[in-house]
Symmetry: none
Subunit: 189 residues, 4 copies
C-alpha cells in the first residue's frame, strides 16, 4: 500500500494504454491487453491504478500535463493574437507528431467517466481564455462568451489535425485557414 515501486512501470502502462486505446477504442480495450502491451502481469496494472477508470483518469491527467509542458516558451508578453497563434501552432504540431495522443484525449473526454477533479482547467486553457477575453472586451463584443471560443479553438484544432493527417499536402493551407476561421470570427469586422 505504499507508493508503487517503479515509475517506469507506471509509464509503460500509460503508454501501452495509449496504444491499445487508439487501436481498439477505450471501452473495447481489455485491461489485459494493456498489461500485455506494457509487458507486465494482468494484476500489476491494478497495483498502479485501482481500476480501469482510475487508469483512464490518470492517463487524462498525464496527457494534459504533457501538452502543457510542450508550451515552455509561451509568449506571455505577446499580443493576444500572438499568444493564440502560439497555442494553435503547438496544438497542430502535437497533432502531427503524435496524433494518437490527442485522439485518446478526445476519447477520454467523450466517455463521460472522468472525475470532476481531473477536469481542472489547465495552463493552456487559462491562457487561451485570457487572450480571448482580451480580444472580446477590446472589441466591445460583450455577448461573445470567451468560453465558447475556447471550445471552438479546440474543436477546430482537432478537425484540422485530422484533416492534415489524412491529406498531408494541405498542411500549410489548413493551418492558416483554420486559424483565420478562428481569428477573423473573433476579431473580425
Amino acid at each position: 500500500m505504499s507508493r508503487p515501486r517503479s515509475e517506469d512501470k507506471r509509464k509503460a502502462i500509460l503508454e501501452a494504454a495509449i496504444r491499445v486505446f487508439t487501436e481498439q477504442g477505450i471501452t473495447n480495450a481489455p485491461t489485459s491487453a494493456i498489461s500485455r502491451a506494457a509487458g507486465v502481469a494482468e494484476g500489476t496494472l491494478f497495483t498502479y491504478f485501482r481500476s480501469k477508470n482510475d487508469l483512464m483518469n490518470g492517463l487524462y491527467f498525464e496527457l494534459r500535463q504533457e501538452f502543457n509542458r510542450s508550451l515552455t516558451d509561451f509568449p506571455h508578453h505577446g499580443s493576444a493574437r500572438t499568444r493564440l497563434r502560439y497555442v494553435w501552432d503547438r496544438y497542430l504540431d502535437l497533432g502531427k507528431a503524435c496524433p494518437e495522443r490527442l485522439k485518446v484525449l478526445a476519447q477520454l473526454r467523450a466517455t463521460g467517466k472522468l472525475f470532476k477533479e481531473s477536469e481542472q482547467p489547465t495552463f493552456v486553457f487559462v491562457e487561451v481564455l485570457n487572450a480571448t477575453r482580451e480580444v472580446v472586451r477590446g472589441r466591445g463584443l460583450h455577448d461573445a462568451p470567451p468560453e465558447y471560443l475556447v471550445l471552438a479553438l479546440r474543436s477546430l484544432a482537432e478537425i484540422t489535425i485530422e484533416f492534415i493527417n489524412a491529406h498531408p499536402e494541405s498542411e500549410m493551407a489548413c493551418r492558416e485557414l483554420g486559424f483565420r476561421l478562428l481569428w477573423s470570427g473573433l476579431a473580425g469586422k
Copy 2:
C-alpha cells in the same frame, strides 16, 4: 397471414436505443437495456436488427435521413451564404430540439463500426460541399480544401449546440458568432 413486422416496434427500438446510448454510451449499452426500454423481449430486438452492430447502422441511417428531411425548404436558388446559413440554422435548431440525437450521431461516427454503405454522403453534405466550393473558387482560394470546411462547419455546429444547451442565454450570440467564424474565415476579408 401472420402478424406483420410492426413499424412501430422498429421505431420503438430505435428510440429506445437513442435513449440508452445517450445515457450509457454506445459500447456500454447492453442490448437488453434497449429492448427493455423499448418494451419488447430481448429476442425481439434481433428480429428487427440482426445484431447490435446492425442496429447501430440502422440508427445512423435513420438519424441522417431525419436530418435531411428537416431541410425541406432548402433555398436551392439562394446565394452560397444563404444556403450555408440555412444549413447552419437548421443544424442548431435540431441541436436545440433534440440534442441527444446529434450526440448519438456523433458517437455512432466515432465507433468506427459503420458499414461503408452507411457512409454515403447525404443531401446536406453535398449541398454544403457545393456551396463551399463556390465560395472558395469565387475567391481564388485555390488551396482551401472545401472538404475541410465541411468538417469545420460540422464541428463548429456541434460545439455551438453543446454550449447553447449549457448556456441557453447565449443562444443568439453563439448562433451568430459561430456562423461568423465560419463565414469570415471562408470568405474572409
Copy 3:
C-alpha cells in the same frame, strides 16, 4: 387439432430434415433451418410435429419403414445364407443410393432421445435375427448370441458403406470381404 391437411407438406419437412441434419448434425440443426428448407413457415413445422424431438422420432420411423419397403422380394424360402446376403446387399445398395439417409438413421440412434415405441424391431431386424439363430443353432454354437450378430451386421454394413463412398473403386472387394467377415465368423469352422 384435426389431422394435418397436407401429406405433401409432412413429407417435405421430413426430407428437409434429412438434408439439414446431414449438413449440420442433428443437435446443431435449428428447426427454423428445416422449415426454410422445406419451404414452409417456422410455425408450420409444429403443426406436423409437436416438437423437434417428435420430428426426430417421426423421421426415424419413416426411414426404417422405407428400408423395410425396399426389401420386397425378400427370399423367404432361401437358405439362411441367402437371406442374410440379401439383406446385406440391399443395405449396401441403399447406402450407395442415399448415404445421407443411413447417416441420419445412425445419428438419430446416437442421440439417445428416441422413444421406446420407436424402437420396435422391424421386419428386417426380425428376419436377420431368425436367419442368424438358425445358423447358430445348426452349428451348435450355443453361446453365440444372435442379437450380437445382428449388431455386427449393421455396424459392418455401415462402415462398408462409408468406405465404399470414400473409395468407390473398392466397392466389389469390400462388399464381398465384408460379408465374408460376417459369414465366416458366423458359420466358420
Copy 4:
C-alpha cells in the same frame, strides 16, 4: 511467482467433461455444467481451454494417448494374429473398465469438429494397419484394403463392448466370436 496452472484442475475439467458429455451428449452439454462438475468457476474452464471446441480436441487427444499408454507390452515381435488379438483384447478391456471413455471418443469423432492435427494416426492405428497389411499380402488378397479392415476392427470392437456391457454374461463368447469374425474374414479360408 503466481499460482501455477494446476494440472489437477485441467484433469478435473477433462474428467468432468467425460461425465457430462456421456450424460447429455456433447452438443447438449453446457460448458457451465462441465465447470460445475469439475468444481471450478465458469470462467476457469476457459483458462485451460480457449473454447468448448478446444476442450473437445484436448479431450480427444488425451483419450487417445491414454489408450495408447495402455498398450505398454505390445508384442512387437509376435505374429500378425498375436498382435491383432492383443489390440482387440486391450480394446475390450478398456471398454469394460471405462465404457464412457470410448463412447465419448466415438462421439467426439462424430462431431466433425476435430482439428486436422488432432487426427494424426496413433500408434495403435499404425500397428493394426501394419498387421493387417501383412496378412492381406501374405494371402494374396490384393484387393482387400487394409484401411477398411482397420475400420472393421474398430466398429466390431465398439459393438462388442456395447453388447458385453448390456449382457455381461456373454463376455467370453462375444470376445471370441468378435475376433473370429475379424480374423476368419481376414485370413479365412
